[in-house]
């Protein structure tokens, strides 16, 4: 058991850090940090345990990155935040906001990666002080096919996630809202779509090579050949070296469906994962189905799912959980945490069997990350 857990909470109006005791029963709060800033993501660097990276902007001001190297006590702004190359082209891009920050491979302690809206991939080699355009994706000859200027979410098209194979720093995956999942085997120099058998029911061809909306992917840390995906159009699993995703969401209860924003893999059991379904019927309310929040767990890689809702409101609760707002710690039994759109933080210290609220009245929660205290 660690000395406790830190929960890093990014919201539409700032960031907060919650510190739980070793039993994960008592939680103290630090914050707000950067009150009024839109914090799409704030994470802790697992390579040193003390560096925090935060993607921020405000309703008025342009995007930036804040860094802390002392557990969040003090923060410095990046000297050169992610920015596209200067261009005179009519479709020249400007970063609206950074959506995802990802610590680099364990072998590269100062490297970080960032994903933005419009979709862009950026790299820092100095611990997040300066960020460089990654031409292998941003200037890829097929970029505008994969990331059309009129595509995207209500907040703009996204490169919403970056995952690195723990066995090989050159092997990377990214998730986008306009092209689905892409893979690189040469340290981001080149990319190829990885979306076979993933639905995009909003196109005439429902199974295109690219064009899917990959809400979230989870590369299993101990078994990196297994990838779970919560897509706009269902829950999927891919076992490499295969390239054909299997829709494991077909095994969810039909009344619930398999629409959601996020999926969490058990760090020590590649067959176990959790989702937080949302209503994707008719006009896509994106609320807890029926106003009854629940997570669903599989323990057999998606063949079957079980409902876990003890502790959640049993009716008239309409929140949902966004892409990077559902996470696990590394404790035994595993702790699960979710940040809701209504500003509540919920946790389970028994792998989802029971849930309790540990914070409320925060702004809309965009991200949640757990780290040892």
């Amino acid at each position: 058991m660690a000395n406790g857990i830190r929960l890093l909470v990014g919201t539409r109006k700032g960031a907060w850090i919650f510190r739980g005791d070793a039993a994960r029963k008592s939680w103290d709060v630090q914050g707000p940090i950067m009150l009024g800033h839109i914090i799409n993501h704030v994470v802790c660097d697992p390579r040193d345990g003390k560096t925090l990276m935060m993607a921020a902007k405000t309703g008025h001001l342009g995007p930036t990155i804040f860094r802390s190297t002392d557990h969040g006590a003090t923060w410095k702004e990046a000297e050169k935040p992610p920015a596209f190359l200067k261009s005179d082209a009519p479709n020249a891009r400007a970063v609206s906001h950074t959506f995802w920050v990802e610590p680099g491979h364990a072998s590269e302690p100062d490297v970080w990666w960032a994903g933005t809206s419009p979709p862009g991939l950026f790299r820092s080699a100095d611990g997040g002080v300066t960020w460089e355009n990654v031409a292998g994706f941003n200037e890829h000859p097929r970029y505008w096919d994969w990331c059309p200027p009129d595509g995207g979410t209500p907040d703009g098209a996204l490169l919403n996630q970056i995952q690195i194979d723990p066995r090989d720093k050159s092997h990377m995956y990214i998730a986008t809202s306009t092209g689905g999942v892409f893979e690189s085997t040469d340290y981001a120099a080149n990319w190829a779509p990885l979306n076979k058998n993933v639905a995009a029911t909003f196109f005439p061809d429902p199974y295109p090579e690219y064009g899917q909306d990959a809400h979230y992917i989870a590369v299993h840390p101990q078994m990196p050949d297994r990838i779970y995906q919560q897509n706009h159009c269902g829950i999927y699993r891919l076992d490499r070296p295969g390239d054909r995703w299997e829709r494991i969401g077909d095994n969810m209860p039909k009344a619930i469906g398999d629409i959601g924003f996020t999926i969490v893999a058990h760090p020590r059991d590649a067959d176990t994962a959790w989702v937080f379904p949302m209503d994707g019927t008719e006009v896509w309310p994106r609320t807890s189905p029926g106003g009854k929040p629940a997570v669903y767990r599989t323990r057999d890689a998606g063949a079957t799912w079980e409902r876990q809702d003890k502790g959640f409101p049993q009716e008239q609760a309409w929140f949902t959980v966004k892409r990077q707002a559902f996470c696990a710690d590394a404790e035994t039994p595993l702790g699960l945490y979710l940040g809701a759109t209504n500003g509540q933080v919920w946790m389970s210290d028994d792998e989802g069997a029971h849930w309790r609220r540990i914070a409320e009245h925060l702004p809309e929660i965009y991200s949640l990350a757990a780290a040892p205290a």
Binding site: H60, L61, G62, E79, A83, K86
Partner: protein, 87 residues
């Protein structure tokens, strides 16, 4: 010198200063000079393509500027504002 009026959203960069004097023959040059003194401030207002960000406004001697290559002369005032937006 150009007198730049700093909005509340950007005063964390200027140590709380509301009005800052800089040199510059264009809006762009004045903002560069501002950024040299307060690193990072320009990018919060101007994007990497040189455009004024959608919810920011710059007024040169009271007239709203839509480009940053407009000339300035000694004694001019730049007024930076966060537009009425958000929620």
């Amino acid at each position: 010198m150009i007198s730049v009026v700093i909005p509340s959203q950007l005063r964390s960069y200027t140590g709380g200063a509301v009005r800052v004097e800089v040199a510059g023959a264009t809006i762009d040059a004045a903002l560069d000079a501002l950024d040299a003194r307060f690193p990072g401030i320009k990018f919060r207002v101007i994007d990497e393509q040189g455009a004024i960000r959608p919810h920011m406004r710059i007024f040169a001697n009271g007239a709203m500027a839509r480009r940053i290559d407009l000339p300035l002369k000694d004694g001019d005032e730049l007024f930076i504002a966060g537009a009425l937006s958000g929620g």
